[in-house]
């Protein structure tokens, strides 16, 4: 046998490790969870960021977008000559309504122009299948892959598009991906709905014909030179293009796909920063407890080794090797786990974000760092025990430790004693005798519960956020956007469409908002007074009326502009006569998604110096007649886009289930492992320390159940005590996560439902029960006779 080749001390090491294999594994798994979580989140973060950078670089993702109403192609030269512009390109981009066979609801989409001969230089596309449209075939288009896949569209298939009011039959010749639509989401939505948002590319000439843009463009895309000031360029572009109906140029930070990607990367960063340390902390604690108590039980052996002439260092090394072995197993588990999770996550992302390539790959320093962290954890967790081994005098160690002295019990405890039975007294005195140990176990269990709450609460919060957003703030079923602002009478026409129960007009006006140095490019939404579908709510989520005068900002926008109610805000309208004036901030309202500015529709139009015009209407519809309404809307030329609340909600729930659900599932698993690790370890060590005591009780005629009560009752008590603490830790973790997930796109409310607390408590209790049962099996098999032969 191999073992016989080893030195006796190393044989002891292997046998000791084998003897505590369950505990060693529990610790290793906790270390592994931390390492795995770190490798997964950090690796994914790096993979995602690198992939994005490479994709943007290779396909020349634009730095700036400058939409206009209509500008002559010749203007390109002037744009190119602006300082900081490395290269510019013009194109046509317009909203379309798409109709695919088999899809009842109208699909909102975008259509972009393809240059006549070459591919686009800026925002180039990746042809996955098929071919580019033939310049002489007007009806040929390329389709975005996510959308095509969702509808099972392949090159050669047809679909219909309403281009500028005219329905056209289009033929797909190729399926593409684009850096502009990594996250293909319709403006104003919160999650991508592949079925409900389509993007097409068409020959420029054909598209210009359809939108009366011959010799003209409606969007310039720009690559800037390195080190340039984006804000200055945006200003210059707005100046140059203002005559052509510029609604305001914007950079990548306001490009919706990139915004979402950035958001995701930020979330990964937060998770990577927050969760692995929790696991490693728990691992430190476990190592500390287990190794500390192991060394206590091996006092005599240590003394003996030293008495035989083994040096302090050799003996310490023996225990260091044991700790090292456990840590090493943890690291290996972690690396395997991290790679496995990372690849799973990459697959999920590949489905969520459309990259032409996305490989999970963590650079070597991620592995090295996680190994380093684990070793530090091991060192910190066990240093005190190892020092104790070094310091132990052989003479002292050889004398058995005196029986633990329980005489200094607490007075309150002794007052209680007459009312409780002896086994319960044993539990309480034992807890009181080793309060630090009890506290550590309690904290360990609480941490696992906190982790559970911290990860599952996001589900509550998201559902709450969507519920408030869709059922309290924006209560419409359907939003119809017109191609051009229309007269208020358009509302009447819409009201006559089948199934429409109520219609509420709104106007969206592109603006630049300025407060001192702070500038935001936004759209002011004009609402009718007393609006009942598109509502405003205060911070208590109570509906508030829209003030007649002044502008109302969403809380996040006010924060970004650093402005408070009552202060004046510079508003530069970027449409019509482009007036600029100061408007008082009349109020701040609560929103969870995006940034919003609202005004009374009439004061907004007065500001524009226009008659009342509207951009679209919110509709309340009869659910039984939606199909008829959809057919009607698909055939209405003035409609540029339709968004459907219910579909958006469903898409949201689906995405939530897929992404967050997986995340919560894994965290539940991890937290359960931690709980098992802590409870099982505590129980096992207690058992090894008190096995003799428990066996004596069995000899005295106590049943297995009664004896188990003494050991497991203590753990049950600690688990119960850990529950409120865990709830508190969970709330704190949720709070931290909420703070760090506060972005322009989302604000996750700090909502932890009682069912989440209940769920977390249940998982922890189940984990505790499972480890209790494992230990119970050992109690049942206690060797009564062996215990009586030996001295304490």
């Amino acid at each position: 046998m191999l073992i016989e080749l080893l030195k006796p001390l190393d044989r002891k090491l292997l046998r000791d490790l084998w003897a505590i294999k369950g505990q060693a594994l529990a610790i290793a798994v906790v270390i592994g969870c931390g390492v795995g979580m770190y490798i997964m989140s950090k690796g994914m973060l790096i993979s995602l960021a690198e992939t994005r950078a490479a994709y943007y670089e290779r396909y020349r993702f634009a730095d700036v977008w400058a939409p206009v109403k209509r500008a002559p192609n010749a203007l390109l030269e002037q744009i190119t000559e602006l300082p900081d512009v490395r290269r510019a390109e013009t194109r046509i981009r317009a909203g379309v309504i798409l109709d695919v066979e088999g899809a009842a609801a109208p699909i909102t989409g975008e259509i972009q122009s393809l240059p006549k001969i070459a591919r686009p230089h800026i925002n180039d596309i990746v042809l996955r299948r098929g071919r580019y449209p033939d310049p002489i075939h007007e009806e040929e288009v390329l389709a975005l892959d996510a959308f095509a896949e969702a509808h099972g569209l392949e090159p050669g298939n047809h679909l219909y598009g309403i281009l500028n009011g005219t329905k056209k039959k289009l033929t797909i010749t190729g399926i593409v991906q684009s850096p502009e639509y990594v996250y293909a989401i319709s403006p104003g939505e919160i999650v991508p709905d592949k079925k409900r948002f389509g993007v097409l590319w068409m020959n420029r000439e054909a598209l210009a014909n359809a939108f009366d843009l011959d010799g003209a463009f409606n969007e310039a895309v720009i690559l800037t030179s390195a080190g340039s000031s984006e804000e200055a360029l945006l200003e210059r572009l707005d100046q140059l293009l203002k005559r052509y109906g510029a609604t305001g140029a914007y950079g990548r930070s306001q490009q919706i796909s990139d915004q979402f990607l950035t958001n995701e990367i930020k979330q990964l960063e937060t998770i990577g920063r927050l969760l692995p340390p929790i696991f490693l902390l728990v691992a430190t604690f476990l190592l500390n407890v287990v190794v500390g108590r192991l060394i206590d039980t091996e006092r005599e052996q240590i003394g003996l080794l030293k008495a035989f002439g083994y040096r302090d260092r050799a003996v310490a090394l023996h225990y260091l090797k044991m700790i090292g072995a456990i840590t090493l197993i943890g690291i290996v588990i972690g690396i395997i786990l991290g790679l496995w999770l990372g690849q799973g996550l990459a697959r999920m992302y590949q489905d969520y974000f459309k990259f032409p390539f996305l490989l999970f790959r963590a650079p070597a320093d991620v592995y090295l760092l996680s190994i380093g962290f684990s070793l530090i954890v091991a060192a910190v967790g066990t240093s005190s025990s190892v020092v104790k081994v070094m310091r132990l005098e052989p003479a002292v160690a050889m004398v058995p430790p005196p029986p633990p002295d329980y005489s200094r019990s607490a007075r309150w405890l002794e007052m209680l004693a007459p009312w409780i039975d002896q086994p319960s007294r044993m539990i309480l005195r034992h807890l009181y005798r080793w309060p630090k140990r009890a506290a550590m176990t309690c904290i360990g269990i609480a941490m696992s519960m906190g982790l559970l709450i911290g990860s599952s609460f996001s589900m509550d919060a998201m559902l709450y956020m969507v519920d408030i957003s869709f059922n309290v703030i924006d209560r419409q079923d359907v939003t119809v956007n017109f191609v051009e602002p229309r007269n208020l009478r358009a509302v009447q026409d819409v009201l006559h469409a089948p199934g429409v129960l109520a219609a509420e007009p709104f106007r969206a006006v592109p603006v630049v908002l300025r407060n001192g140095q702070r500038t935001r490019r936004e759209a002011i939404i004009g609402l009718v007074p007393g609006a009942d579908l598109g509502r405003l709510v205060d911070t208590d989520l109570q509906p508030v009326p829209l003030p007649r005068h002044g502008i109302v900002l969403s809380d996040k926008l006010a924060e970004l502009l650093a402005i408070r109610a009552g202060e004046p805000l510079r508003v530069e309208i970027r449409t019509g006569r482009r007036p600029e004036l100061d408007v008082t901030v009349a109020g701040i309202v609560k929103t969870f998604m995006g940034t919003q500015a609202y005004m009374d529709l009439r004061s907004l139009n007065r500001l524009l110096k226009e008659d009342i015009a509207i951009s679209g209407t919110y509709l309340l519809v009869d659910p039984d007649l939606t199909d008829a309404l959809y057919t009607e809307l698909k055939g209405t030329p003035v409609v540029a886009g339709v968004s459907l609340q219910e579909q958006a909600q469903n898409a949201f729930y689906e995405t939530l289930q897929e992404s967050l659900g997986t995340f919560v599932f894994f965290n539940t698993l991890f937290a359960g492992l931690i709980a098992v690790g802590v409870v099982y370890n505590s129980a096992r060590i207690s058992l090894s320390e008190r096995g003799r005591e428990l066996a004596s009780l069995r000899v005295l005629g106590l049943t297995r159940g009664e004896v188990s009560y003494i050991l497991l009752g203590e753990l049950a008590l600690l688990t119960l005590a850990a529950l409120p603490l865990g709830a508190l830790l969970g709330y704190l973790l949720a709070w931290t996560l909420v703070q760090s997930f506060d972005t322009e796109l989302f604000r996750i409310p700090l909502v932890v439902s009682s069912s989440t607390y209940g769920y977390a408590a249940l998982v922890v209790v189940l984990a505790a029960v499972a480890s209790g049962l494992l230990v119970r099996r050992r109690i049942d098999r206690l060797d009564l006779i062996a215990v009586l032969k030996t001295r304490e």
Binding site: D405, S407, D421, R429, G701
Partner: protein, 238 residues
């Protein structure tokens, strides 16, 4: 159990085999035994002769490889673990060389641990008085001397008023003076409560206080000695 003619214990052909193959050890090889009620029995024999093994089997802690054990009219060897636990709980008291007290319970509570689950126990106070520890009832084991701890263990064993008291080297860890105090406690229980007592010892001098002395060697009872005039423990010396 009513009064009847059954002896306290009867064993037939007890064999205990440890291990298998080359490392087989016979701890007992065919022990037949009968212990009348109320007797004080001392078990003598060299180390490894199977004394503890026999005692553990009679006390329901262990089971023989072959043979039967009867306690009163019951066959112990047919009991499952649950019944053996009940048996120990109601009828048997154990005292061991290393006391095995619960360190987190006081002397009184260590005794109460047993009286709480027994059917007709005496009070813990009475049991402690019987062993001469009436004054130290609220001390924890860490605050008691070895002899005192052993007497608590005896009080704990007798408090349930067991039918039999098994003591495995109860004086092994004690000096002779303290040992005699402990033996006196055992003898008192045997006389006053009529408890059958079985005491293992390496100390042949102790045999003088027994009604019956069993000499064990090599897993067998070599010789049984009856003593019609057992002496009082305080007359002993070693």
């Amino acid at each position: 159990m009513e009064k009847n003619e059954h002896p306290a214990f009867r064993a037939e052909g007890l064999t205990k085999l440890y291990g298998s193959g080359e490392s087989r050890v016979y701890a007992l090889r065919g022990v037949d035994l009968e212990v009348p009620r109320g007797e004080m029995v001392v078990l003598l024999g060299p180390s490894g002769s199977g004394k503890s093994t026999l005692l553990n089997i009679l006390g329901g802690l262990d089971s023989p490889t072959e043979g039967r054990v009867y306690f009163d009219s019951w066959e112990l060897t047919a009991f499952d673990d649950e019944h053996l636990t009940r048996f120990r709980r109601e009828y048997v008291g154990f005292v061991f060389q290393f006391y095995n007290l619960i360190p987190s319970l006081t002397a009184r509570e260590n005794v109460a641990l047993v009286t709480e689950i027994a059917e007709e126990p005496m009070t813990p106070e009475r049991a402690l008085e019987l062993v001469g520890l009436g004054k130290r009832m609220d001390h924890f084991p860490a605050q008691l001397s070895g002899g005192e701890q052993q007497r608590v263990a005896i009080a704990r064993a007798i408090a349930k008023q067991p039918r039999v008291l098994f003591c495995d080297e109860p004086t092994g860890a004690l000096d002779s003076k303290t040992g005699i105090v402990v033996l006196e406690a055992i003898a008192r229980v045997n006389h006053e409560l009529g408890t059958t007592a079985m005491v293992i010892t390496h100390n042949a001098a102790i045999a003088a206080m027994a009604d019956r002395v069993l000499h064990m060697a090599d897993g067998q009872i070599q010789q049984t000695e009856l003593n019609s005039h057992p002496c009082d423990p305080h007359e002993l010396s070693w």
